[in-house]
Amino acid sequence: MCGIVGLFLKDSALEPDLGQMTARMLATMTDRGPDSAGFAVYGTGQAGQTKLTLRGPSVAGIENTVSKLKQTFPGTDAALYDTHAVVAVPTEDLARVDAWLGRECPDTEVVGRGHRMEIFKEVGLPQDVAARFRLATMHGTHAIGHTRMATESAVTTDGAHPYSTGGDQCLVHNGSLSNHNNVRRALCREGLTFETENDTEVAAGYLTWRMREGLSLGDALEVSLEDLDGFYTFVVGTENGFGVLRDGIACKPAIMAETNQYVAFGSEYRALADLPGIGLAKVWEPEPATVYFWER
């Protein structure tokens, strides 16, 4: 099953409420995915810095990683969120930090990186996961979230969405891909690496590869219709954009709402029911095999 929510703000006055709005939408989708939850928030970024979202094996584990990291790289800013930490690294130190993390903290994983994107995901009820990471306090321009009912791979944090395989890019998915093993092998030959056996990570990697080859997100989604087989609704985020794509027979549910303040996505209308001005919003179901994309 699984549930997806997404919110792309057009009106900057709503940016302080992004986390709170997303948290409510996510909790509403618990019925569709009680196994794990995750979300990506596009908040503030600073020139010359890259944000890494790190996930440790435990709260103590990530605290340990962050304190060692700060000793080794004194200029590093870090904010702790339960088992995760968001670390702002001067971009010139990034390669050294990456190498150091791989060497010194093998149980800490980099789940997302980018100028503005932060990614959080854990096993548990969506409401609890959102509370652990203090989603309701987060500010930003857009966010996407996912509640997972596991089908293709185990109920682990590794199997939780969103998936990111490129800077400021992430993907959530409802459905299942049938050719993900073939696509994964093809992408490995192109030099991509994968952390899990999960089909969604392959879709995220595919889009990253297409964009690395020069396509826009919209064009990458367009060609994915040819290359990815299965049933799916995708919601993707980039540093400045937000996109939606459903498979050719629109197997999985999707509903969207747009006002002059925001564009919102939900697996069901219930997820959108609390949004401001929803009564006057343009509400519609995205067409199958049609790319929808908003960019600021």
């Binding site: 027979i249 629109a250 549910p253 509903i255 069901e268 209308y269 219930r270 959108l272 029911a273 609390d274 509400v283 519609w284 179901e285 199958p288």
Partner: protein, 229 residues
């Protein structure tokens, strides 16, 4: 006249109260506020009630309906009036996928658009859509009428049995074994009857519609295909 706020009253309590009403009840007019997209609102009714729902509903609203009139003042999620037996369900907004699916009887009227698979496996229900319907509508439709004022998406009437499809606008493509048919006076009269029951009293001209139905080539195994197995 009970006025139920679903922001306060649990949905199960409402549906339980509606299910307990005997067919001869005098408590016939119910108003439901604040549906907020909840699922299965007023599903399984079995009495001649008049239920007004003020706002958008989620999945399976008025599913399995018998005898009741359900007016949804808003849009409806997946499977509105699915498996309806009799009665009248009216959606003032849009309907999501599989509206009126497997319905045996009664009439479903949708003032906006219906999404994909509208009337899938319909078995006698009449469905009138003022807007357009999505792909795979009337898939395996067995009996009843699907009337579309706007356009139909891809693969209309795929593997259709004996349902009647009337479309005023364009049809993107016809599904397997679905063909365009002549619109005789008899069919215009039948369509006029459906439109009248849907509340369109002479406002819509049946002769503007095209009729589609089964070519009946899938009813029996074609021996020429024996070699393909």
């Amino acid at each position: 006249m009970p006025d139920i706020d679903l922001g306060v009253t649990p949905l199960r309590e409402l549906n339980g109260a509606l299910h307990k009403l005997p067919p001869e009840t005098n408590e016939r007019h119910w108003v439901i506020e604040n549906p907020a997209g909840r699922h299965a609102i007023a599903a399984g009714l079995n009495a001649p009630l008049n239920v007004e729902i003020n706002g958008p509903v989620g999945y399976y609203c008025a599913g399995m309906n018998k005898l009741a009139t359900v007016n949804i003042h808003g849009s409806a999620g997946v499977g509105v009036a699915e498996n309806m037996m009799s009665g009248f369900v009216h959606v003032s907004g849009d309907a999501s996928q599989a509206a009126g699916a497997t319905g045996h009887g009664g009439l479903l009227r949708i003032d906006g658009n219906a999404s994909s698979r509208c009337g899938i496996s319909m078995k006698g229900i009449d469905i009138v859509v003022q807007g357009s319907v999505g792909h795979m509508s009337a898939f395996m439709a067995q009996a009843g009428n699907l009337v579309v004022f706007g356009d139909a998406g891809d693969a209309l009437g795929d593997s259709i049995y004996e349902a009647h499809l009337f479309v005023r606008g364009s049809v993107k493509s016809l599904g397997a074994d679905c063909i365009k048919k002549d619109m005789s006076d008899e069919h215009k009269a039948a369509l006029h009857d459906v439109l009248t029951r849907a509340g369109f009293n002479g406002e819509v001209d049946p002769s503007e519609f095209q009729r589609y139905g089964s070519a009946r080539t899938l009813y029996n195994f074609n021996v020429d295909h024996a070699g393909e197995y």
